[in-house]
Symmetry: C2
Subunit: 202 residues, 2 copies
DNA sequence: GGTAAAACTGCACTTGCGGTACGGAAATGA
DNA sequence: TCATTTCCGTACCGCAAGTGCAGTTTTACC
């Protein structure tokens, strides 16, 4: 890795942690550069303004989430050939992962940006929407495979059900933060899992 | 209503709308006073600083939500004497109300503050936590009444299940905003309703 | 080991916003 | 009428974002 990339990712690491902890506007460039130990000019060498830092962070965050889900549900598919049971395993792995975090979940960047909308960040809005649509497509595919094999016990829209995974994630993180209770998020994922189970299984 | 209260609530109305639309920090005092048509001195006569405006807004918001839930599930209890069916009716009324909004849901102030944590707002954190605990207590009571009559089809923690209502609300709002689709929130509430149905009813 | 490009530093400046201070004026209500 | 409430006007401070640019060091590569 070249030196510039190193500094750039160090800026991003420190900025992301601060933003998740305090919010975007509450995080000043000055505090970031102090922790990274560079000057303001150095910062603006890597990012043309604060907004472009925000976009870079969001892209990286989305990619990482994507990779995480790939790994999680890929592993689950290895553990069971049936789509429903594989999905149920995936959800449990997901809950366990959220439960094993050292502290409360640091928060979702997409949610932070969605609650800090500005006029100048159309790109951020589009990126967020696209990633949410990608999550929807991912889970919709899984659910359709399941629904083809297992009839549902209640009439549901599979698209809405696909969104329920993201919604549970976002809601669970928010409630974990509000209640200051780390267990809320994994508990909510397990309730979602319980619903999937009751909906498709006997 | 006295003149001062009028101005005060006008400030709060305009501030709340702007904050929900753009975020707390992105909303400047200067733009608020311009729309209210007062001066900066006028603003600081009513609120000693921006943070105390935030607190006032949060208190009002929490009270309104509380009143809304009272009305919603109170009405539902009038419509059916059985606790489970009353709750299912309440959830449907809730979903309908969210569906009948003229635009996308403006957002939840509690969530906004939870994603804009700062050092100086311990009071905001406490208020948010208290209101979340109040929501939990409200729904926990209902669910225990239901559980006493109907055995659950899956093993679940009733406290987590009570939190699921708030979590679904927060997650649904966030996903509605991210996807820019008004229907996501009511759809998520209906899925929650479907789960409650499958969980307690055969 | 020289050299060009990359990766910064230093500094001076502008703008916008939150917030303070305080005197005074106008509206309101008993 | 008269005190209290509800503001207005103005001048000011400090902080952070962001600009501009010249200069310096560091790195990668032949």
């Amino acid at each position: 890795m070249r030196k510039g990339e190193q500094t750039r990712s160090k800026i991003m690491d420190i900025a992301e942690a601060a933003i998740l902890a305090k919010g975007f506007d509450a995080t000043s460039i000055e505090e970031i550069i102090e922790e990274v130990d560079i000057t303001k000019s150095g910062f603006f060498y890597h990012f043309k303004d604060k907004n472009s830092l925000a976009i870079a962070l969001l892209r990286r965050y989305i990619d990482r989430e994507e990779a995480l889900f790939d790994k999680l549900f890929g592993r689950a598919a290895e553990l069971h050939e049936d789509p429903l049971h594989a999905f149920l395993i995936g959800l449990r792995l997901f809950a366990e992962m959220m439960s094993d975090l050292p502290t409360i979940h640091p928060g979702c960047l997409v949610a932070i940006y969605c609650y800090n909308e500005r006029l100048y960040n159309n790109e951020i809005r589009s990126l967020s929407q696209e990633s949410a649509l990608a999550w929807r497509a991912r889970f919709q595919e899984i659910l359709e495979e399941i629904a083809a094999k297992y009839p549902t016990k209640d009439e549901v829209d599979l698209v809405a059900l696909a969104d329920m995974i993201s919604s549970t994630f976002e809601g669970g993180i928010a409630m974990s933060k509000i209640l200051r209770d780390q267990n809320v998020l994994p508990d909510q994922i397990l309730l979602l899992r319980s619903y999937i189970k009751l909906l498709f299984l006997d």
